[in-house]
Symmetry: C2
Subunit: 478 residues, 2 copies
Amino acid sequence: MVEKTNHHMTSDEFREAGRELVDWIADYYDFVENRPVVPDVEPGDIRSRLPAHPPESGESFDAIMRDVDRVIMPGITHWQSPNFFAYFPSNTSFPSILGEMMSAGLGVQGMVWKTSPACTELETHVMDWVVELLGLPSRFLSTGKGGGVIQDTASSAVLCAMLAARERVTKGVSNKTGAPVNLVAYTSTQAHSSVQKAARIAGIGDENIRMIEVDDTFAMNPVALEKAIREDREAGKIPFFVSATVGTTSSMAMDNVFSISKLLDEQIWLHVDAAMAGSAAVCPELRGMHDGLEFADSYCFNPHKWLFTNFDCSCFFVADRNALTNALSILPEYLRTAEHAAGAIDYRDWQVPLGRRFRALKLWFVIRHYGSKGLQSHVRQHIELAKEFETWVSQSKQFELVARRSLNTVCFAHQQGNAATEAVLQAVNATGKLFASHTKLNDRYTIRMVVGGRDTEHRHVLAAWNNFCTTADEVIAP
Amino acid sequence: MVEKTNHHMTSDEFREAGRELVDWIADYYDFVENRPVVPDVEPGDIRSRLPAHPPESGESFDAIMRDVDRVIMPGITHWQSPNFFAYFPSNTSFPSILGEMMSAGLGVQGMVWKTSPACTELETHVMDWVVELLGLPSRFLSTGKGGGVIQDTASSAVLCAMLAARERVTKGVSNKTGAPVNLVAYTSTQAHSSVQKAARIAGIGDENIRMIEVDDTFAMNPVALEKAIREDREAGKIPFFVSATVGTTSSMAMDNVFSISKLLDEQIWLHVDAAMAGSAAVCPELRGMHDGLEFADSYCFNPHKWLFTNFDCSCFFVADRNALTNALSILPEYLRTAEHAAGAIDYRDWQVPLGRRFRALKLWFVIRHYGSKGLQSHVRQHIELAKEFETWVSQSKQFELVARRSLNTVCFAHQQGNAATEAVLQAVNATGKLFASHTKLNDRYTIRMVVGGRDTEHRHVLAAWNNFCTTADEVIAP
């Protein structure tokens, strides 16, 4: 018997399997709203249905697809369901999925300009488009001293911002001798945990990050920030980094970027994290949340949260790209190119990893498919739905608002307190009809209702509200 | 006129566009070998063909595809061409592309177990499969104290390893008070730049990483390592991290992991970076390069380099998963789940970013499509082709080997020296018929020929060799 030497799937086999998969994906979206949003499985259930050993001989694509349907799908939490209201939307769209398909098909590396010029240049160009699309300050344009880059997540973006700040304030010393012990960073108690994670990674440490108190809107208190900076300076510390949040994770609260910026001098890097809220700036009437952004050193928002673009796509902008590359550039011989020497952008110097996918394609596809008007229309619809939900809560005899609605996020709780709220949320999620998640605000167990699914319509939000009400009737003693 | 409120692509439109795109991808692979591997463009050429402003109104998918063909494709470096021999292969395959498509279609988040149980469990399971597939030490199995996680790149993996090491050696202090000033890390002069980048990011600093000299095979000299560690200890420093390389970027040189491991004690974390070479361990006869791996704390290799799996897919294993999560875990209220409390894996604690795509799908598809035998067969074919190329170089009157061939990588140079070698490489690459990249070894300008394309066959390697020879005849004076 002659040993088989070519084990690849042929392009004709791919044509057939690919078409089947396209239909499988379309069917998934057509019917996802009927699926329980959160699967009814325990840890270990999925693994127990998988064979213990990898196969020696290849299997057919049909066999793989059968196991996807049999083993994987029963363990999926359906983020793309119109009944998904948890965490953040992570909404995607068909144009974006097509962009991901093309990126996977081309299989190119965008680590330096030369390794695929179009990958770098489309990204730079689309990031400039995004500045216009969101009405961001011109200092973030690549045509000046700044520029944008697609990172995987806002966590990586804030880390890169902090590294650039660390290197800037130490005048190039921290890369050489390590993170100095006297640097201090600031963010609010409501900021995302990624700021603290960045401080750990960058060798700053938990004890050198101040979690500034918030006001009754859960926004950072600028007076408290000013005091903390002053006290640290008096103690011989070096304040070097502030991360302000436009749209906190828990309640979509808005730090006042303008007020914060007025407290800072050139020693302190101002980063603005608008991971979810930023997408709303496609609507001119919502751009007030960005007031003061023209004084920020860096800015980040995630089209993969609320702009119909597949994860991962986090847009990170800096006002001074040299400050970023000073912190992250190392140039070994095997990556030297004439174009780099001549000033072409090598995005590997703008991020932690070296390699990079062609992620600009999907964002380009999305912006072109929807146009700015299409994006505005859908963001406004989500906000209108959240507004209506807020009205229902405010008129309820069982529930009450825990924070002001902000954009697409409503935070509410049962009037009988934390145990009741938690019991209602768990019972609602157990129905499989919707999925909402929780947080704590001033020690109150709080349900977060975030409206942003691609296919979320009025009827889904109304059904969710009715589910909360009837479930509360059932599980809470009157 | 009624304003349009639904701007989404319908599922039927997606079925049509998706099928077209599947054919477009299949056609791309059918004909990619005819394209110039490196595009003939200058920095700015691609951008200049793109409109300055984002569109207000949406455009058709046909219009987008026309611009892909017109603007983007002329700026692509074709990593999937069988004539691509530069950097590292980054080979992909149709099953992997299908996995990426499905991941994009599902659009789920695997940041914690609950956000999509199958996403976490398939990854844990497939990573255990990979331990078996490569014959890695059982300490990396999730069924014991260890486990594997898919990272984006080996750069991120070595950073996570270094952070775990930093936190372990400081007994939990570095996360609190910042990176101590007296830690020292070690790697070889031939190690990838990502080790140095990790040291910068982690607040260790360039001056606290020792680039240990290499022997005449370009492998780390263990005697020099031992001496450096001893001298640092005598100077009051704390050696805490060694990164050994199995398959260096420049010449695929193999550090002796066993010898290195014998020099270390429990204070020093041993990381092994086998980014490209690791895939070869699917072949039992090639596993000698991993001798001593049973003493390593962590290990990384990239299926996205040489195992037919789309970037990004870097497999990172640790012997003690608690050491990793101790360094990277922060648990805010909004991410608390009962399953986490009960010990389920939350992969956000194994990496820098929070969010994560369902990357295990593509690796699972690849392993199932090829089976271990299929993967072995193709890796062996690539190595045989590199062997033959090595023979041609060694018998040449113009070129000579600069290093021993190792696996699929041949390093060679023109006998007339650096200027001649560089001139030949540039002229060869300018033909568009193939793409090879360069490095420097002992100050010699060196051409790297790496064989690993999915569709690279004998005729492509032979044509490349003939191109080198005839080009040298043309551009070098005899």
